[in-house]
Symmetry: C2
Subunit: 215 residues, 2 copies
């Protein structure tokens, strides 16, 4: 796969060992995570909005109410920065200084265009549902034209960007090895618990939901 | 507690029922979450960086390597937007359109100042460690002056901002109640698994870590 495009603003300046432009790795992170933090600037003032998203091939897609101020700006080509982060562990060293976290993150930069064509909007709607639960778009009622009209959708090409990650245990100073303090990592992950059915549902819980996992 | 300050740029424009300026609620979210997405703009280009953070009273504190470009900008008073999001559930409706997520998020805006005084930096270092594991700052080796010098710390007053959240089940259209598709929510949460000790550690796993929880 073609690597992500490194530019001066996405170049890793520090701890280069943790940086990557591996597109496959970026896609794995994007497909596992559920929430993106979308940044844009209006008159120099930064805004960061949490958004559900999906990946559709080499594009990242966003959506929301047609009246959304942000989506209006985004459709008009306002530069965006979309960051997706997975927290994997707390890294607990013997010294305060060497505490850290294990994580995998993708930062993407670019501009988006609005998805306007009906079939493309239907495909994007399916991609959003399938990003939440793989295959679910085949089970749900598809959007009506009125619903499509009430929804604005943006697609941003996945091109300029980078991956940053940390893995492994704490890196303590040798002189701290005898500090009487437990050292190691606490793995963390977003995990699902038992699905809660809508009181009016007639259907049994599908097997894909009783054992819902992101990886 | 004094509510967060609502301004035109933090005003909730849509679905106001989900918005709040409740400071206590904002603090509960900030204290439970671990990662902030920090946004800033340079020459109109937005950047969103995932960062570990802590809350110290009515301030949100950030830190990193003294050479960090972002922290340099931040210390110089560049406007920041700090967003913290907790994902609570996937909301699976019978129609694609009514799919949603339950979440709690805080958006804070403002400028930061550098923490320079030695005692203040030591207190902030303790706050970072204690945000990861409550009380751990008493067990670890405190930072040396050299380590403090290698770390830049910023404090941003928690003032202008807002909380946004969704809770509850799917809100399906009445005419969709008979669509043969399971409807309900999948609760999700960041959960910890068994701590992994550093191979060189002499200490037993503290009880606070064997049952590590964020809430």
């Amino acid at each position: 796969m073609k690597p992500l495009v490194s530019t001066p603003r996405t170049k890793h300046h520090r701890k280069p060992v943790r940086g990557s432009y591996d597109r496959e790795l970026a896609y794995a992170i994007l497909d596992e995570a559920l929430v993106a933090h979308v940044g844009f600037a209006v008159d120099g003032a930064p805004f960061v909005i949490p958004m559900f998203y999906a990946r559709q091939g080499d594009s990242l897609i966003l959506h929301g109410a047609a009246a959304s101020r942000f989506l209006e700006h985004g459709a008009a080509g306002l530069p965006l920065c979309v960051t997706v982060t997975l927290l994997d562990a707390l890294v607990l060293a013997r010294s305060a200084f060497h505490h850290s976290v294990n994580y995998r993150s993708v930062v993407l930069m670019g501009t988006a265009t609005e998805i306007v064509e009906r079939e493309a909007k239907l495909a994007a709607a399916a991609a959003f549902v399938d990003h939440a639960v793989a295959g679910r778009s085949r089970e749900v009622r598809a959007p009506t034209d009125k619903e499509l009209g009430a929804t604005k959708m943006l697609a941003m090409p996945i091109d300029e960007g980078s991956v940053k990650m940390r893995e492994g245990g704490p890196i303590d100073d040798v002189e701290d090895f005898d500090v009487p303090c437990w050292s190691g990592i606490i793995p963390v992950a977003l995990t699902a618990s038992t699905p809660l059915a809508d009181p009016r549902t007639h259907e049994p819980v599908p097997a894909t939901l009783t054992s819902y996992r992101r990886r």
